[in-house]
Amino acid sequence: MALATAPMRSGSVPVHDPTAADLERLATFPHVVVSWVDDDGYPQSVATSFEVDAPALGISLVRPAGPQIPLDRELSVTGSHIRPQPGIGYDERRYLQLWGRASAAGPDGRAAFSPARVWGWDEAEVPFFEYSERSVPQSRRYLAALSAEKGRKIRPRLSLFWLILRTTRLPFLSTTAVSVLLGIAIAATDGAFTWWTALLTLVGGSLAHLAINVTNDIFDTLSGADEANTTPTQFSGGSRVAIYDLVTVPQLSILAVALFAAAAAIGILLVILTESLLLLGIGAAGIAVGVLYTAPPFKLVYRGLGEIAVLIGFGPIMLLGAYVVQTGRLALEPLVVSLTIGILVALILFVNEIPDRRGDAAAGKRTLPVRFSPMAVQTGYLVAAVVALALIAAGVGIGLLPWPTLIALLGLPLAYRVYGGLKVNYDSPYTLMAVMGRNVNLTLAVGGLLLVAYVATLVWSALRP
């Protein structure tokens, strides 16, 4: 049926000339509401029955009793539908509105309506969240006009807690915690552990991560990449606080500088305390990777190198850095584990870039999902996830890692489920959200299992006679 494939314009798209598909769509509504401006200057509306002749682009309207459908002015004809869902709200929202004029030429005394323009929305085709995102410019225009009218700045607001959470994308800190805690745990199994330097490392790493998140938002806002993305999710599309005018770009810049400065101060303190130039190098590399991730001229994520940057940042830099803070030296064991965690965190970025790929492409952000076909991205995901876990098995095989770390292989089925989810939901940003969540859980699960393995190793060696 033509209806299923008819292009539907969202409310953010200008009205268009009517097509037969529009009229076929109107025919699915049980009645229409006919509206016009009456002689007293009020809008008038009346519901009525109708029939469509889609090929002829004609609609015949049963003339209601009471207010007469006028033949001398513009009318609108609207079909509207929702399905109430008691206790939940409603769904299946759709409406279609056509403008035109009526004549007395309809059959059986009906009015013949000839549409000239049409617009509508169907949430089955343009989901509500996407429709809302497309409407953000209208919100900005309205609030700017309202501010001018009232003579004071009127901006959207969030409570401070939610604003901080949204601006910094705080929940993603869990990945930093996994990396840093694993570095500390491995160091502890090597007999090195100081609780307060461990705590400082966790705080410093977290501040650096938040600084990078905010910096990323600044550059994605300035480049237009976030604005071009009309299908953001809780995992992708940036914090959007500047796009929504909840925070200005200068405010974000101050926050980013403050977070970087605090992270650097903690890093310098740790370098002084540990007297480790190695740590200084790792910290400097971490800040460089974080800034160059989105900042010009390098803009690593814009060149398809974001995954490599994240792998290095959340793998060797975070995990190995935490290990170096405790032990003062490099070692192969934490390097292997850091590569596993780095790959898995990079895969979070990789999957989260999938729903962003159209907006990213429009803004010249050539991420891997922009560059490669869906099949290549899906296969690449599975291969990378398997490699990440195979590194653990190989590490145990050559006697580098303790055998309890094999428990991390329990993450394999979850990785396969993510792969399956990518295949099914690749083109659907909102159903992909569950897959993105599962992918984050994969990193947390593998990281958590490795932590358990190292704590068990620690306990075993403490209890061993």
Binding site: V33, P43, T78, P84, R157
Partner: protein, 162 residues
């Protein structure tokens, strides 16, 4: 106190959607599906700043019509009505005015709104809203939704001249 006929008040109390028509540029009628709220005297509509074109139209011309036509959206009640009136926009503070003025009415009709409100952080602009307060002036009522029969036509009692 309100003057709307009882059957129309019953429609307003249950309707999840009304077809609300405002006057756009060039006197063009523009219809929006909106949830109507009723406090026994005035009808309240509300609009996110995201979908605020209708507010711009109402600022130019405050005349408005509210059509109640869909039995599915009115708990199966087949009656139909159209209410004409004049709108006032309340937008001093789009962040919180609406919560103070209409949240209780909204919650009564659509309890799920509380769950959405808890997730305000996910869609902050959706909850920046202006309230449209409508003073009803004329009402057409079609029992059983029979718009092929003449409607009952009622008008607001005239306010006495000062």
């Amino acid at each position: 106190m309100g003057w709307l006929p009882d059957p129309v008040e019953r429609l307003l109390e249950v309707a999840l959607v009304a077809e609300v028509t405002v006057i756009g540029r060039n006197r063009r009628p523009i219809t929006h599906p909106l949830i109507p709220l009723y406090d026994g005297e005035r009808i309240y509509l509300h609009s996110s700043t995201l979908f605020s074109k209708k507010l711009e139209h109402l600022k130019r011309d405050p005349h408005i019509a509210i059509s109640l036509s869909d039995p599915v959206a009115m708990k199966g009640n087949p009656d139909r009505a159209t209410i004409q009136g004049t709108a006032t926009i309340i937008e001093e503070d789009p962040h919180s005015d609406w919560e103070r003025l209409i949240l209780e009415l909204w919650r009564r009709k659509e309890p799920a709104i509380d769950a959405f409100l808890k997730a305000r952080v996910a869609l902050p602009l959706f909850f920046e809203r202006a309230v449209i307060s409508v003073t009803p002036e004329r009402c057409l009522y079609w029992a059983d939704g029979r718009t092929d029969a003449a409607p009952a036509d009622s008008r607001a009692p005239r306010t006495e001249a000062a």
